[in-house]
């Protein structure tokens, strides 16, 4: 299969025995963790005090960031405005979204930049959720560098499966700001399945039930010969263990005959009492709850009555996802529990009852996501032989385009396996129309106003034609991280526009640059130089790759003018690579050369696949893989 290998060089493993430092990071709402694979086993990396968790908390003072983690939590009561927690909830969100959270938030917000992203007003100035997350990542990175004895080569960072494009992009921006090379954004339930799947070496259908503090995720996967295929994922982004606490607190309030117009202090007291009672009932049959002067008895049966309606809601989501996956509940071989809220016994009972089997929970539900991410990082960085494990994930929410009348036309449906590219043709509405507005949205609803707006751009320069005769092909492409890019092209004239979806809530390019300059201490000076160097390496690589390809198949697959054109563009790239000091300029040229060689690459793959697959049985094929 030499022909195939020649093309897919990225598949080649690095030299043997040269292990790279790769980690998995669970960047959580409440706690974050980092893990790595050591002698074949995924292990959590503890801090110097031997603690696994890094509370996702930061404290700022006039000088800037003063501390993170447990230390930052100590400031929570004394200096709440300068102590940030739960920043994950703000990732990729706009000010208007934050207003919809509908509860008292302990922060003050500064007006966002042009991006409209909320920023926390702290003693150190306005801090964006992306900046704060970057600091958490940097802290975990330092922990890992100490443990592994050097700089990291790459990281897999987990995100909730329901995260939309804006939230994913914000997470990636945070990693970039922390100077981490992101190998992959991985869905949390999928990470958990990997941790269990490789642990139990099980094959078959897996349901991952992930109940956190504020969110619920369900994913249905199939594991066959090391390939994890996500069949469907769903859930409820506004349902979690905190709702259990609220239900219990409300019951306590009634029992103690406290009016619903209680002060925030009393409210907080009730919530705290509810939470600790809930946790106590995972150990004991009954507990006495003290609220001020009063004592209330709460037992498991009463707790069950309070939380059952909420658990039932999660099971309805499970049923929906099973239907999406085309899997019957009896077909599920293993159920995995993830998230702190699955510690509640009642949740375990109901899940076991629904799936008619005992769920797996022998891995710590707080750690399992980071452990799985580390396994994936190890494979992606090339420490394991490549064909051991492969993950095929899906897109959690449909991607669509606005059409006439504020309606959404779905282009990529939810639960489609990624990466994916889909194109659809549209036409002009008026005679002589020369521009077309493309509005990219994400969500399941019919109306644009009910979906999340991701990006808008315009295709201009359409030659004037009668209404309905222009042919505009809009292509959506989602990469393996679940991130979207969109291109629009008028077919008769070839006019084109494309956009990497930098959602309205993400960071503007200028903002990223500025933030990099401001807060990126260890590389402040050599940023530009490093970027240039990276692009030069990239240029060398692409020149080499394409020349090798031309040597091999150029004459067979290209006609004379195509060949000449390709060679000319390579010469231009080489010249620019040797002369320019502007890394962006070089990057643009690389991009254009890469695009120019796409059809050649496509023909080569076509030819290679035909050659490779002809005359072989499948078993032979799989035997070789």
């Amino acid at each position: 299969m030499a022909a195939l290998l020649q093309i897919s060089e990225p598949g080649l493993s690095p030299e043997p025995h040269q292990r790279k430092r790769a980690v998995g990071i669970d960047l959580g709402t409440t706690n974050s963790l980092v893990a790595t694979v050591r002698s074949g086993t995924s292990t959590i990396l503890n801090d110097e005090q031997g603690r696994a968790l890094l509370p996702s908390a930061l404290h700022y003072d006039k000088q800037g960031l003063s501390c993170v983690g447990y230390e930052a939590l100590e400031h929570d009561l004394s200096d709440p405005l300068n102590t940030l927690t739960s920043v994950k909830r703000f990732m990729g969100r706009g000010l208007e979204d934050v207003a919809l959270f509908g509860e008292q938030l302990p922060y003050q917000f500064a007006a966002g930049g042009e991006s409209g992203m909320p920023k926390f007003a702290t003693a150190a100035g306005a801090i964006s959720p992306v900046q704060a997350s970057a600091e958490l990542l940097a802290s975990l990175e330092r922990r890992a560098q100490l443990a592994l004895g050097g700089d990291l080569d790459g990281a897999v960072i987990t995100v909730p499966a329901y995260f939309d494009d804006a939230q994913r992009q914000a997470t990636k921006d945070a990693a970039m700001l922390a100077g981490l090379k992101v190998l992959r954004l991985l869905n949390e339930p999928t990470a958990a399945a990997i941790a269990y799947g490789l642990d139990s070496a099980g094959e078959g259908t897996i349901a991952v039930y992930d109940l956190g503090g504020g969110t619920f995720d369900i994913s249905i996967l199939r594991l066959t010969r090391g390939v994890f295929e996500v069949l469907a994922s769903g859930g409820d982004s506004a349902l979690g263990g905190d709702d259990f606490d609220r239900a219990v607190a409300e019951w306590l309030r009634e029992q103690c005959q406290i009016g619903s117009d209680m002060t925030p202090q009393v409210q907080r007291q009730l919530l705290a009492a509810a939470k600790s009672a809930k946790q106590q009932l995972s150990e004991d049959e009954g507990t006495t709850v003290k609220v001020g002067e009063q004592s209330v008895e709460l037992d498991r049966a009463q707790l069950a009555e309070l939380i059952d309606p909420l658990v039932a809601k999660t099971l309805r989501s499970c049923r929906r996802s099973l239907a999406d996956a085309g899997v019957k509940v009896d077909d599920v071989d293993n159920v995995i529990l993830v998230g702190g809220s699955t510690r509640a016994l009642r949740v375990r009972e109901k899940v076991a009852e629904y799936f008619s089997k005992e769920p797996l929970c022998h891995l710590d539900p707080d750690e399992v996501v980071a452990l799985g991410a580390a396994l994936q990082a190890d494979v992606l960085i090339g420490n394991k032989s490549g064909d051991d494990m492969l993950l095929l994930d899906v897109i959690p929410l449909s991607l669509g385009i606005e059409t006439m009348g504020g309606l959404v036309e779905k282009i990529i449906h939810r639960n489609t396996t990624i990466p994916v590219a889909k194109a659809q043709e549209f036409t002009t509405f008026k005679d002589g129309q020369t521009a077309l507005a493309v509005h990219v949205v994400q969500g399941e609803r019919e109306l644009v106003s009910d979906c999340r707006s991701l990006a808008r751009f315009e295709l201009r320069g359409i030659p004037p034609m009668t209404a309905g005769s222009a042919k505009i092909r809009v292509t959506y492409q989602v990469d393996a991280d679940g991130l979207l890019s969109v291109a629009a092209r008028e077919i008769t004239s070839g006019v084109e526009a494309r956009i990497e979806v930098k959602p309205s809530y993400g960071l503007e390019e200028s903002e990223v640059t500025r933030m990099l300059q401001e807060s990126f201490s260890h590389a402040r000076d050599d940023m530009a130089a490093r970027a240039l160097r990276e692009q030069q390496v990239e240029a060398d690589r692409i020149i080499e790759d394409i020349r090798a390809a031309i040597d091999a198949d150029g004459e067979a697959l290209l006609d004379a003018s195509e060949l000449e054109c390709l060679v000319k563009s390579l010469d231009e790239l080489k010249q620019l690579r040797d002369t320019t000091t502007e890394h962006r300029q070089l990057a643009r040229k690389i991009e254009s050369v890469a695009k120019g060689s796409e059809s050649f690459a496509a023909r080569r793959m076509d030819a290679a696949v035909k050659k490779a697959l002809s005359g072989q049985t499948l078993d032979q094929l799989e035997g070789e893989l």
Binding site: L4, S8, E9, P10, G11, P14, D153, G154, L183, R184, T224, R225, V227, R316, R319, R320, A323, V379, L380, I381, G382, G386, D387, L390, L391, L392, T416, T417, I418, P419, V420, A421, K422, Q477, D479, A480, E538, R541, I542, D545, I590, A594, E598, A601, A602, M605, D606, V609, K610, L613, Q616, L618, L621, E622, L625
Partner: protein
């Protein structure tokens, strides 16, 4: 990005409506093991981009062959048949009557004394019709009678939609 003209040969399968699902799944996994962007995670941007396109193409081919309806449509596309399935169906009066009767039964589900039994009956009768359409498609496709094949696909499309709606109805019934 036409990486290959024909999804069947991509997976090493004969061009036919009858697809061995086990072979298709195995070939799909084998191709993704090789071409997925994860295999290029440490590669250059250009390599990653290429891998994304390859993997996307493989995914597209897989989903087209996996679904009976999409597979039938793809076979007609391969045969160079362009069709407007909707106008094709409406000329079949008998089919139209049948369709109206099925819809009426679905609308009455919520008032039905045993809605789940009724739903199961509806589902199995639609499934039987679906299989009948598949058979007539296979026959027409083999005979290269594309008019009949298009007609069968249009009906398949209708029954597939009905089955989806029945799934939704079942959820609504359970949730009420």
């Amino acid at each position: 990005m036409p990486l290959s003209k024909d999804y069947f040969s991509l997976f090493g399968l004969p061009v036919s409506y009858d697809v061995n699902r086990r072979e298709l799944d195995a070939a799909f996994r084998a191709l993704q093991q090789r071409y997925h962007p994860d295999r290029a995670a440490t590669g250059s941007d250009a390599q990653v981009r290429e891998a994304v396109q390859q993997a996307a193409f493989i995914n597209q081919a897989y989903s087209a062959l996996k679904s009976p309806l999409a597979r039938a449509q793809y076979l007609l596309e391969l045969a160079g048949v362009e069709a407007d399935y909707e106008s094709q169906v409406t000329r079949d009066g008998l089919f139209l009557m049948e369709q109206i009767a099925l819809r009426e039964r679905m609308e009455e589900l919520f008032e039905h004394p045993h809605p789940f039994d009724e739903l199961e009956q509806l589902r199995s009768s639609v499934e039987v019709k679906f299989v009948e359409c598949e058979e007539s498609f296979t026959q027409a496709h083999t005979d290269e009678d594309f008019q009949r094949a298009v007609d069968a696909v249009a009906k398949l499309q209708f029954f597939a939609k009905l089955l989806d709606q029945l799934d939704e109805l079942e959820q609504d019934l359970e949730d009420r």
